[in-house]
Symmetry: C2
């Protein structure tokens, strides 16, 4: 499939499965020396490829790959003074539906066994990064082909979770 | 299917097809007297059911039904001084991707032949209007069953159009 649309290096040549019982690993930045190291003490959840213009993407990739893990499972263990935003993203707003979770890029880990991407989010947004509009049909077809259903926001369960959070905040939903 | 999830009166009992060559009709409000009348001089496009919390919905309906038509095809012909927001919604922001279009509710017309709904937008948002989160699977299944693919934003072609507009505004896309 050398002519196939390229989505992300972690999925273009087949998607590695999660390892049962996997309990985390180490993320490292790409610096030549004094690498920042972050220990993740749990399996990640909701791993996905993301077309938004904000996430860090490997050079030449249309999509990022991003998952979440509880913030209490994320610990910077080396050279944290260099850390900017690449290794994890923390949701600091305690009113956010996903407060308590950190975003992480498992591709920055030498371990295998992380939960693989399950869907593609913010697909239409890749146009804002330079993807040609007339390629979008092929991009969505390729995502479906490799088992990553494409959505132009997050996946339905996550969108439902956000709306449920909003409904509780507004008193529309009482339980 | 009396036990089926109710989506909107215009789709719950089968969806009427568009009439070839249909060229518009009249929308009227629900007032008992001095009804506002709006003439629509063209067939509508992108008709859909919408779960957002902003659109006007019939009493008891989870979704609204809304389509677009060129603003030059919309003319208030009676009692316009009473008009608030129910009969049409105009996009006044000339930087908006859909500037030039008005939103209209074809169910307020006595004519038949309008283009029917094609998809369901902002489905997860119905939770914010009181839909139970645990019913969302049934709602999406019912939407698929009646031929209205469910999305949690707009449909992919419309989302691509919005991103294309943004890409042009930002100079990412040059043509």
């Amino acid at each position: 499939m050398s002519d196939a649309v390229k989505i992300h290096p972690a999925v273009d040549s087949g998607i590695a499965p999660a390892q049962p019982g996997f309990e985390g690993g180490t993320l490292s930045c790409h610096c030549a020396t004094d690498r920042v190291t972050v220990e993740i003490g749990a399996q990640v959840a909701y791993n996905h490829v993301c077309g938004c213009t904000k996430c860090w993407k490997p050079d030449g990739s249309l999509f990022s790959q991003v998952a979440v893990v509880g913030r209490d499972k994320v610990m910077v263990t080396a050279n944290g003074e260099k850390l900017k935003v690449h290794l994890y993203g923390r949701i600091e707003n305690d009113q956010h539906a996903f407060y308590g979770l950190d975003f992480v890029h498992t591709e920055l880990s030498p371990q295998t066994g992380w939960a693989p991407p399950e869907f593609a989010a913010f697909v239409s947004s890749i146009i804002e990064s330079g993807a040609r509009p007339d390629t979008m049909g092929a991009v969505r077809a390729r995502l479906n082909e490799i088992g990553l259903p494409p959505y132009d926001v997050l996946s339905p369960p996550l969108m439902d979770a956000i709306s449920t959070h909003v409904a509780r905040q507004r008193g529309v939903l009482k339980d």
